[in-house]
Amino acid sequence: MSTAPRPDGATSSVARNERSRRAANRRRGRTLAFHLASWALAVVVLYPGVWMLLSAFRPSNQIIGQTGLIPDETTLDNFRKAFEGIGGISFWTFFGNSMFLAVASVVGVCLSCSVSAYAFARIEFPGRKIFFTLMIGTLLLPFHVVIIPQFIMFNEIGWTDSYLPLLVGKFLACDAFFVFLMVQFMRNLPRELDESARIDGAGHPRIFLSIVLPLMRPVLATASIFAFIWSWNDFLAPLIYLRSPDSYPLPLMLRQYTDQTTVSDYGAQMAAAVLALVPVLLFFVLFQRYIVDGVATQGLKG
């Protein structure tokens, strides 16, 4: 720095201008570098998605082994085949199954997790700490660890080949992550609100329904988005529990197009994958502002 501040703290106006111009240049350079880096990253991240989208319009035999984006030939055949479905079951059946599972998951998660979170955040019951710790502990268990005992259990009850194993847990607040998320959110809600309601004579159900639940909208939206996307993309659980092809959700359908031992139809798989992505993308676009809202409200304490 040639224009170091003088000991008395004042700087000449020339030096000050010079400095601010340099600072502005430096800032601009940094912004440029930041944007370039972001763009480069975005290209890397988006490339597979764009490739899939454009490949869906390629003839089936031109997909594998092509790394370029622009198709030489375009066709809508893949989409026609994807809409026809597979194995005599229409695309819309799979779509409906996926939609039913996803919506039911969202409803289940919102209902059960919010009630459980209320209990953990607001009610002093004996063993609360232990139960909370146990619940958090289940977060550490990967799905693959519990899958065999779970399968045996559901099979003994006779629930395999139905949606029950996939949904019952959602209605019983088995998703510890969402309970935890909501507990944290609720702890930030001012207690004075429920105390004043209590003084007015409201019990827990009334406080929960009239005071807490309306305030929880942002976190419910966040939980809904995740519950929807996770259910929509879930593959292993439906694969294991469902037996009748007409109850399969979309991810199972997508896998039926390719097989290492026979002739695979990559085109229809790409097209079906694009179609399967649309709802989840829409859902995210519509609800993402609630995530932002949720974060913003979290910051406003008091």
């Binding site: 199972l252 197009y257 139809d265």
Partner: protein, 436 residues
């Protein structure tokens, strides 16, 4: 992906323990509904196979109005995830497609129904050669019925060979001649863009090792699951391709193989030949976008003979828990024997084992099917098929995977010497093979 793979493997391991827990659980495979029987029938494959099976099943239901068949299908790896959970809970389907490399896992576990009691009754197996049928026997029970045959072959791409200006050896070529071909083709392809190599490292193909052993007069595995070959046998085989690796590697590089997945170097037009099962020709042809892929046998053994064998492409089996084994056997009989089903199924399940089936097949002239049938016919006529399929002990699929995918990969990248490869394989195989 790697995560899921390991998870699935974990599942398979856990299954072994769980099996003992619930083997007694039992269950009814189908439901009786006023004298009507429902069978569950499942297979791996894609839509093409599903369409054919479904059409055949519709016909079966028409002929047997008291039987309803519920069908489902999945991709190969997913299929086995489903079957292992089914097996765990004693809920295997009434009829299922079975693979020789997995047969004993299920057959030895008592999970498959002994179809022996229906032989000569509702299930006619006399149309199938005894050697082929034997592959479906375990513990003196008939636990699976083969649907068709396939044989090992060398696929070649005449157009690419012509472009390279090299000459493919005749059918009676030796391993030495095969190596010379790879060398010559690689030299010819060095200037092309992308570079063309003469062939893959054939020693990393598990079935080539099996064939090599058989050609030396060694039956790879004994009935009790013990290996009949030594580390030296494997070392000698893997080292036989050393002239192709040094001084310069002229085999298709592993890194390029990785880049081209799920296509192979062969179907990408960067290798003129590939060793594979003949029933894979139509997939290869589709991947390569070429109607001009041809077949010839792999190299001959030291005595000048091919020592080839037919392997059952697929098998059909019945779950031991099935409530309607007889009806299940009827369905299998219908699928493998009835001419109507044969017409529908074609070569989807391999080249039909019985001559009548073959004769009733209507194959489009010039199709890949026709080439495969001609290939197998010529193998038969010229006496190249002299062996029966090698015995698949329990764990066969796992040691094959270790050879090809786990160690083969590392070896291909040059991170392992021949000695290391052999040593590591033997130490793993000791854990993976189940001997009795």
């Amino acid at each position: 992906m790697p995560n899921r793979k390991t998870a699935l493997r974990g599942l398979a391991v856990a299954l072994a323990g769980a099996l003992t827990l619930t083997a007694c659980g039992g269950g009814d495979g189908g439901s009786d509904d006023g004298g009507k029987v429902t069978l569950r029938f499942t297979w791996w494959g894609t839509e093409g196979r599903a369409d054919r099976y479904q059409a055949a099943v519709d016909l079966f239901e028409e002929q047997n109005p008291d039987i309803t068949v519920q069908t489902s299908f999945a991709e190969f790896n997913d299929y086995w995830t489903q079957r292992s959970t089914d097996g765990t809970s004693g809920e295997l389907p009434d009829v299922m497609q079975m693979d020789l490399s997995r047969l004993l896992e299920y057959g030895n576990g008592g999970l498959l129904y002994d179809l022996g009691e229906f032989e000569g009754g509702v299930l006619d197996t006399s149309t199938i050669e005894e050697e082929l049928l034997a592959s479906g026997r375990a513990n003196e029970q008939l636990v699976a019925v083969p649907t068709g045959t396939n044989a090992f072959a060398l696929f070649y791409n005449p157009d690419l060979i012509e472009e390279l200006g090299v000459e493919l050896p005749d059918w009676d070529y030796t391993w030495e001649e095969y190596r010379e071909f790879i060398q010559a083709a690689s030299e010819a392809g060095a200037g092309l863009e992308p570079r063309v190599y003469g062939g893959n490292d054939y020693t990393m193909v598990w079935w080539m090792f099996m064939l090599h052993l058989i050609q030396q007069g060694i039956e790879p595995f004994a009935e009790n699951g013990e290996m009949n070959f030594t580390e030296d046998d494997m070392r000698e085989f893997v080292a036989s391709a050393d002239p192709l690796r040094q001084p310069e590697n002229v085999t298709f590089p592993a890194s390029r193989t990785e880049q081209l997945l799920p296509k192979s170097g062969f179907t990408s037009g960067e290798v003129p030949v590939e060793l594979n099962w003949d029933n894979m020709l139509s997939q290869a042809s589709q991947d390569a976008g070429s109607d001009n892929l041809q077949l010839m046998p792999p190299p001959s053994g030291p005595d000048g003979e091919k020592h080839l064998f037919f392997k059952p492409t697929m098998q059909l089996a019945v779950g031991a828990n099935s409530a309607h084994p007889e009806e299940a056997a009827m369905l299998i009989d219908f699928l493998i024997n009835s001419p109507e089903a044969g017409e529908i199924i074609g070569t989807e399940l391999g080249i039909p084992a019985s001559q009548e089936r073959l004769d009733s097949l209507q194959v489009a002239p010039g199709s890949t099917d026709e080439r495969v049938i001609e290939y197998e016919q010529r193998l038969r006529d010229e006496g190249h098929v002299t062996e029966s399929a090698p015995f698949h002990p329990e764990g066969f699929g796992a040691v094959e995977q270790e050879y090809v995918q786990v160690l083969g990969n590392e070896f291909g990248y040059g991170r392992m010497s021949v000695d290391d490869f052999v040593e590591r394989w033997f130490s793993e195989a000791g854990n993976l093979l189940i001997t009795s």
